[in-house]
Subunit: 378 residues, 2 copies
DNA sequence: GTACCATATGAATCACAAT
DNA sequence: AATTGTGATTCATATGGTA
């Protein structure tokens, strides 16, 4: 059993005994040590926000290989291993209890997770009387695919944003969020790329320094939404220090807690390096305008082009029938509107939207229906 | 105190006593009554999928799950909230236990909820040994704005998709989902409008018949993804019968359970007016996994790929020769098309059907010859 | 300099039937 | 029950090399 799990296990629901005087709140520092022990040294009701990216308890099995043969570099670190859900719950309860004690009454807490752990965390947050204000979905523009075709692409992670109690006051910079979103209310689903390229912190060997580094854009939006300049943000699972880096950039104070010396070193150097406002990172802040891409299947699903509909081309040379999954079929071919169109014309490619028409007295090109669908959305 | 709350309260964690003989599984019917009582009458391991849209425990001053009924004054608020969550958990545990008993071992369950209840539900699903396959985010194109500007627009709901146990087999129509999404893997975030307009079932007074009617497009995607035609879907919180209507349209059988006579009446009329798709329209892209297997040796035997044929990969990096028994051999390896392909690439595995091509001017992939062989059989 | 192509990789609970 | 063989399976980006 790893250290965190053992500590949580031994303590169970009990609040740890005070270790230090808890008189002073340090800031802009990394506290090197176990997150629960280090939190125990901090004063009551002293921080304005907590951002926590705890272990997800992924429970992965054996190796996973990509179709082309490569092996997926999975998160197999000891810090993500727990004996059971019960152990994970005990650990979560323990660090949440400390977090709650340290948080000001008008502060908020953010926790990020995936389906592996977020339902445990959400339940325990509610049990501890935190009041969920929103759950936020981070939609990844570039998630790892499901290589074996066994499930839906796991393309998002979830963040929970909670006040300390029902009815508690809290900071929400509504205007700033609206500004970030073209003067529309910021929604609970955020589209952002995963952390890669230059932003991803690398070790000496060129390999990623941390397996689960979060994008700065994510922390940028969170800190901008829920803190004022000068306020103090605590991150009990500091890792490579994304929270600290963004807090510094935005003029917030920060406290990081991290157990692994290697991560601490990397984070210190990262934050110390003056971070100029990176233009490329900023671009991801502003919501990319959703590409108005529509899958033909969505028109089928929504009933605009029901399964069984007969399609034909402008000159009525070929016909095909729409099937339940949005594929179409004629006597000789089946597949997408584009593939079947290409195959029939013996062409390398084909734009099915302009090629196919709903058959009937007057032909209606699919592209027109796509426009209808799009305008209904807005 | 309402019926559901009373039943959950009285029974706690206990499985309800059998009420009926549980011999027959009815289908294409609405069972009018409490969901737990009605589920208790259904046989063990009898349904292929469960879709559940349970009450959300909105805590908007409602007394839905308050055991003692009467109005609670402000002093008791904390206790009331705790009590409400506990009671909601007991209710959830009770209906999940029945759902689990009824579900086939290779069946799956879907549950939809919002942040008010989904973390309770997700935790309890895991506690009951259900195995989360994905959490799905329904992104609403037209959510209700946050009028007071105090939070992010709550623009999504969450669905949990679970197998009965870790490692259990389950149905996932991968190709059909890919077809619905323009030949890209279907992701875990789904964009759909809320149910409105013509689709929204209205009462005699023109008002919406049900406060939380789900869009048919949502059920369409779920049923298409996780069931085969003819399989049985149970919806223990049937409401206006969206699950039944879509199941009928897609040629799936269904069982609805609904307590409110008004909803039952509306659902019956709605489903009766829904027409099933005809056989051909219901077709979807077939999963290759379900195609009959062909041994490569059979193609050799039949003369389609005679012994001595030279094979090569798409980039002509390696060559091999077909032998009389359907094995192939190169300078360094001999064995099945798969084994030799894997060995040459130094990969853990290889699909010989798509790796090897008949050498010559224009390469022809073996998979194409396999298709020829298969279609010649029919 | 540019266009094109090949390669690498990201919090992943990733097969199944026959023997 | 454990082993073995067949064979199904990937999207968006970033980076680096070649033409």
């Amino acid at each position: 059993m790893n250290l965190i799990a053992r500590i949580a296990d031994e303590r169970g629901l009990l609040r740890p005994k005070p270790i230090g005087p808890r008189e002073f709140l340090p800031f802009n520092v990394i506290l090197e040590g176990d997150c629960i022990e280090e939190m125990a040294k901090l004063p009551d009701k002293s921080v304005d926000m907590i951002f926590a990216d705890p272990p997800y308890n992924l429970q992965l099995g054996g190796d996973l290989f990509r179709p082309e043969g490569g092996r997926v570099d999975a998160v197999d670190d000891d810090w993500d291993k727990f004996d059971s859900l019960t152990t994970y719950d005990a650990f979560t309860r323990a660090w949440l209890a400390e977090a709650r004690r340290i948080l000001k009454d008008d502060g908020t807490i953010w926790v990020i997770g995936s389906y592996h752990n977020i339902y445990r965390v959400g339940s325990l947050l509610q049990d501890a009387d935190f009041w969920i204000l929103n759950d936020i979905v981070w939609r990844k523009t570039n998630p790892m695919p499901n290589f074996r075709g066994t499930r839906f692409t796991n393309a998002h992670e979830t963040l929970l944003w909670c006040a300390k109690n029902e009815g508690a006051r809290y900071t929400f910079n509504y205007r700033a969020m609206k500004g970030l979103n073209d003067d529309l209310q910021m929604r609970s689903d955020w589209l952002m790329p995963i952390c890669a390229g230059q932003e991803r912190v690398k070790g000496a060997n060129g390999a990623k320094a941390h397996p689960t580094q979060k994008p700065e854009a994510l922390l940028y939006r969170i800190l901008l939404a829920c803190t004022k300049p000068g306020q103090v943000v605590l991150d009990p699972f500091f890792g490579t220090g994304t929270t600290g880096a963004v807090a510094r950039r935005l003029g917030r104070r920060w406290i990081g807690i991290e157990r692994e010396p290697a991560y601490v070193k990397v984070a210190r150097e990262r934050i110390a390096a003056t971070l100029p406002l990176d233009e490329s990172a900023m671009q991801t802040m502003a919501d990319k305008r959703e590409a108005p891409r529509v899958a033909f299947g969505v028109l089928v699903e929504s009933g605009l082009v029901p399964p069984g509909t007969a399609l034909t081309d402008a000159k009525r040379r070929w016909t095909a029938t729409v099937r339940a999954d949005g594929s179409i079929a004629c006597a000789t071919h089946a597949g997408s509107i584009h593939k079947v169109g290409a195959a029939l014309q013996n062409a390398p490619s084909c734009n099915g939207w302009t090629f196919w028409h709903v058959a009937g007295g007057k032909l209606q090109v699919l592209d027109e229906l796509r426009q209808q669908h799009l305008s209904a959305l807005t």
